[in-house]
Amino acid sequence: MQSKGNNYSKSDLHSFLGNHHSRNAVIQNQLSQGKEGGICCEDRPNIYCHGKNHKDAASVRATHPIPAACGIYYFEVKIVSKGRDGYMGIGLSAQGVNMNRLPGWDKHSYGYHGDDGHSFCSSGTGQPYGPTFTTGDVIGCCVNLINNTCFYTKNGISLGVAFTDLPPNLYPTVGLQTPGEIVDANFGQQPFVFDIEDYMSEWRAKIHGMIARFPIGERLGEWQAVLQNMVSTYLVHHGYCATATAFARATETLIQEDQTSIKNRQRIQKLVLAGRVGEAIEATQQLYPGLLEHNSNLLFMLKCRQFVEMVNGTDSEVRCFSVRSPKSQDSYPGSPSLSPRHGATNPHLHSAGADSPTCSNGVTPPNKNKSHNKYPGVSSASSSSSSSPSSVNYSESNSTDSTKSQPHSGTSNQETRCVASDSEMEIEAEHYTNGVAENSSTRIMNGTYKHQEILQAEDGSLGNGVAEDSCASRQLCGGNQAATERMIQFGRELQGLNEQLCREYGKNATHKKMLQDAFSLLAYSDPWNCPVGQQLDPMQRENICSALNSAILESQNLPKQPPLMLAVGQATECVQLMARVRSGSCSFARVDSFLH
């Protein structure tokens, strides 16, 4: 037997969050022990006891507290041997509690003891609680962070609430006292004996029910108007002119924007989505004079895209050289439809509920350096730049706009998020663009685009929508020499524009990256099948398309983002806030479970 006070090997227990919501959010929880304790964890994950009397009691506890935002936390302890007297305590304790005592005896410490079956709530005297436990029993401890209670289980049977009004930041704790006591902790690495999933499903249903039955009361009429407005503005925003009109007629409401304006926007969007960016720029300049002149960032993005489309052979400036008529390409299969695509949430929003437990646990910073990868398989690369004269003014007043539109530029795939507090901005930006596609297949609108199918189709045709009919059409600028020259000429102009902007506003890393990516296409003999070929994906048009749409709407003093998406963003942010203030229910109140 080892002497007290030395040779305590540490035991690393990988503890899963009890809440499986958190999707494998692993805490590297260690069980640590008191200095004088008679416990060793040599043969991990078993914890073995050498003590003789109550002075020899010692506890081990997890190195990380239970994260509030996980909602429901659960772990189990198997009694491998009750040792001499079976004086074992299983429970919770706050930081700073004396580890040389069984859990429950001291302030901010809670335990269920095997010898008498009593529960100890920060007191030396226990209350009759459950049965005694001994060798072979599996004792579970569940902390419900929604109502701050705790119950235990014995061999898969719930013993009922043991403690109420628990404080936050408790650590799972196991205490042993007499020689030979051995226990084995399970933080989820093995299946639990108790059906914790079933228990969680009840709370999930409870919280969903609470949300679904949230009393509206006398404001019922008001709510209807709000909802109708949300639908209507959403339809208008995306230019569903006929649907919006029909909806307005049916609900006897008014549309704020006039029909012509909607149709104009729709036309411009269609042009962008068809890859005819040059025409789109022209139309915008014609219909909304001054708009692009005051949005140099947007203009630059458009021009970059136009260049990409020239490579693609879809832009009218190069298509006029092509044998095929522009019209015939209006609706080629790879082109994105005008319909916005909504996943349940975008990856960032998605993470709000899911990753927040990790966040509050302080283990993995959420979303930091997380790839903003909207399309599976997307990659970006840099390329050499070429020069061209600049032509567009870069005004300071557009800076806000530019930050918002940046994530949706063609190079946003590898967008790096730096600070968690930026999330608000991210959300706005995400919804602002609206055409963002998500990993999830949940869709809001009818007639939307099936993302996966497109990708598959394009994989088959090597990622080029234009090249659907012949090998030749997959050549640069449609294989036309004059078109290629025009493209190079355009590239120079673009380079010039960039330089001009740099002179006026200073260096802009995003612009530089965009330009590099676009120009690198020329470095490959088969741009569609190169490391930066993803840019040629017609799906990439969606970001710029919605950026342009929003800019137009804003210039008309209309909301640049539909209230519906604002509401979704707000709800998502609310859930994140709940996680930050340690409201346990947030893990069961996920926005995406309400988006069907």
Binding site: G130, K154, L159, E202, A205
Partner: protein
């Protein structure tokens, strides 16, 4: 038929309609039914008259006759359907006339119009609250009929219907079919629904996020299947799913109706299994949770909300009886659980007041609970005495339905055990008469309990009590009980006799007054075809008699009996040999007067040889007993 007072003119027209149903000409009968149909439509008075005048049995007769034309049968069904549309009393009358089986039989007819009329009528009858829907399928025969017609195979796929209502109805149907039906239950466990075992489907339906009604009904199905022996009580779907689900149904969060059903089902589930009782007793503080069942209507609801008060009042009885039932089931085997129950707040007081509640259901459940707890020696000695539970129990015994009486008298048996401190006050309260009257009941259970209680009472009692018992019971009744067809009654009566014939002075006294009858009864039993236990008990009585001073002679002078004792000493059953040897041993005991003569007589009769043989017996007890007896001769 009821006595009715109808104005003569009304009766006359109505009577005319009924009379026409008896016309020999089928064509006229048909016209009569059609006219009747037109007359009753929308006329409740006319409907009532026709029912009173006995139109229903005749219509049913015509409807069931194979010789009736299909048109006539259909018209009859239409008229019956029309009658059912009237008041609730009409429906009751129709149901009393056994309209349901007749209409159900009608569904087998190939004529669609007739079937439609029957269905219409059935529908009207069954949507009425006065018709118990169980009429359709609760009896074992109904279950079997449905089973034989493939109900299980046809209903099972509905359990995974996309419609909640359909799933729910299918589930309910299974719960009724499986109840106490081994055949159905055994089939159910092997049924696959979409490649999944039915029990697993039920388990899924018990998941905590499912609607409560579904969880509860699925738990019922599994409970019934388990009780019918189709699922083991240690199966994880019972231990880890059904039982916890039912405990959850008892929680305060559930509706009062759900709590009642949950508790009753749980009580039923674990009734025969101590392990389940142990698990339930520690699940979610069930024992404490049940205490809440007694708090309705709560004082809060009385003041704040009349509607709530009404609701609470309506369910208060149901809640209490369900809680008592569950406590009874919980405490039926395990001493620790009983202790836990009696230590629950005000538990004994609640039982005591439950015993005198107006609702028979509550009284029955309360006495059941008391009975369950009375199996504990410790509780009998402590809480039962402290709360003088014998008082309300005695009161309950004065006037109660048989069901209650059975439980109450059974509890009384336990309270009369010699270590129970309640025994004395009960004796003083004049319980003997009451128990004696129970022994005259038609119900075997009551006779057993009555005589059992007397037996317990007579155990080690003083002469006065024994005398009172014999006097109150009367020898006639005593000997009637000795020929009772129920062997339990016989056993307890013999037990009573044995207790009466304990210590020597008592033996002599009883035998001096009733010796002749007792010896007669003993002879009869030993000659009759009875179980080993009964005969053993009877031989023990003889052994007691043989222990008396004067009573001995009753045996010694009875050669017939002595031959019988001899016979049983050589019997193949050791127990009987032992009892018979014991008897002889008492007769030849040395230190008593006249032992020498008895020894001589018995030697003459060849008992010594038998004893000698028995000293070689393989059974050590018998061997010892025989040796001890032989020593009496040697001394």
């Amino acid at each position: 038929t009821k006595c009715v007072h109808l104005p003569p003119e009304v009766t006359a027209t109505s009577r005319h309609y009924v009379d026409r149903l008896f016309d020999p000409d089928p064509q006229k009968v048909l016209q009569g039914v059609i006219d009747m149909k037109n007359a009753v439509i929308g006329n409740n008075k006319q409907k009532a008259n026709l029912i009173v005048l006995g139109a229903v049995p005749r219509l049913l007769y015509l409807l069931q006759q194979g010789s009736s034309s299909s048109e006539l049968r259909a018209e009859c069904a239409v008229v019956l359907g029309s009658l059912a549309m009237g008041t609730e009393n009409n429906i009751k009358s129709l149901v009393d006339c056994h309209i349901i089986p007749a209409l159900l039989q009608g569904l087998l007819c190939p004529d669609l119009i007739f079937i439609e009329a029957c269905l219409r009528c059935l529908r009207t009858v069954f949507i009425s609250p006065v018709t118990p829907v169980q009429l359709l399928y609760t009896t074992p025969e109904h279950q079997t009929v449905l089973f034989n017609h493939g109900a299980i195979q046809n209903i099972a796929p509905l359990l995974i219907s996309p419609s909640y209502k359909v799933r729910m109805q299918a589930l309910k149907c299974f719960s009724v079919l499986a109840y106490e039906n081994t055949q159905v239950s055994m089939t159910l466990v092997n049924v696959l629904v979409d490649e999944e075992l039915l029990s697993q489907v039920f388990v899924r339906m018990m998941q905590r996020d499912q609607p409560i009604d579904m969880q509860l009904t699925a738990a019922k199905c599994l409970t019934y299947m388990c009780r019918a022996g189709a699922i083991r009580t240690d199966d994880s779907c019972i231990v880890l799913k059904t039982l916890p689900c039912l405990v959850r149904m008892c929680s305060k969060e559930r509706l009062l109706e759900e709590r009642v059903e949950g508790a009753e089902t749980l009580a039923y589930l674990m009734e025969p299994d101590v392990e389940l009782q142990r698990i339930a007793s520690v699940t979610d503080h069930l024992v404490a949770m049940l205490a809440d069942y007694f708090k309705y209507p709560s004082s809060v609801s009385a003041i704040t909300d009349i509607k709530r008060l009404d609701h609470d009042l309506k369910h208060a009885h149901e809640l209490r009886q369900a809680a008592f039932k569950l406590y009874a089931s919980l405490g039926s085997n395990d001493e620790d659980i009983r202790k836990k129950i009696t230590e629950t707040e005000n538990m004994m007081d609640r039982i005591v007041s439950g015993l005198s509640e107006s609702s028979v259901k509550v009284r029955l459940a309360a006495v059941r609970c008391l009975h369950s707890l009375s199996r504990s020696v410790q509780q009998l000695r402590t809480s039962f005495h402290d709360h003088a539970v014998w008082k309300p129990l005695m009161k309950l015994l004065q006037n109660a339905p048989d069901e209650v009486l059975v439980m109450a008298s059974s509890t009384l048996c336990n309270l009369l055990l010699e270590f129970s401190p309640s025994k004395e006050p009960i004796l003083e309260s004049g319980v003997i008469e009451l128990l004696c009257s129970l022994t005259q009941s038609d119900s075997p259970a009551l006779r057993v309990n009555g005589i059992w209680a007397l037996m317990n009472m007579a155990f080690q009692a003083d002469q006065k009590v024994k005398g009172e018992i014999v006097r109150a019971l009367g020898t006639e009744q005593l000997f009637r009980l000795l020929s009772d067809p129920d062997s339990n009654v016989l056993m307890k009566t013999l037990g009573l006799l044995r207790n009466l014939l304990s210590t020597r002075p008592h033996i002599d006294q009883v035998m001096s007054s009733h010796g002749k009858q007792i010896m007669q009864a003993v002879t009869l039993i030993l000659e009759g075809e009875h179980s080993i236990e009964v005969k053993e008990q009877t031989l023990c009585i003889l052994a007691n008699i043989a222990d008396g001073n004067t009573a001995k002679e009753l045996i010694m002078t009875n050669d017939d009996i002595l031959q019988k004792i001899k016979y049983y000493m050589a019997h193949s059953n050791v127990k009987l040999q032992l009892a018979a040897t014991f008897c002889i041993s008492n007769l030849i005991w040395n230190e008593e007067d006249g032992s020498q003569e008895r020894q001589d007589k018995l030697r003459e009769l060849g008992f010594v040889d038998i004893l000698h043989k028995l000293t070689q017996a393989s059974d050590p007890n018998l061997c010892d007993r025989a040796k001890t007896a032989m020593q009496q001769y040697l001394a």
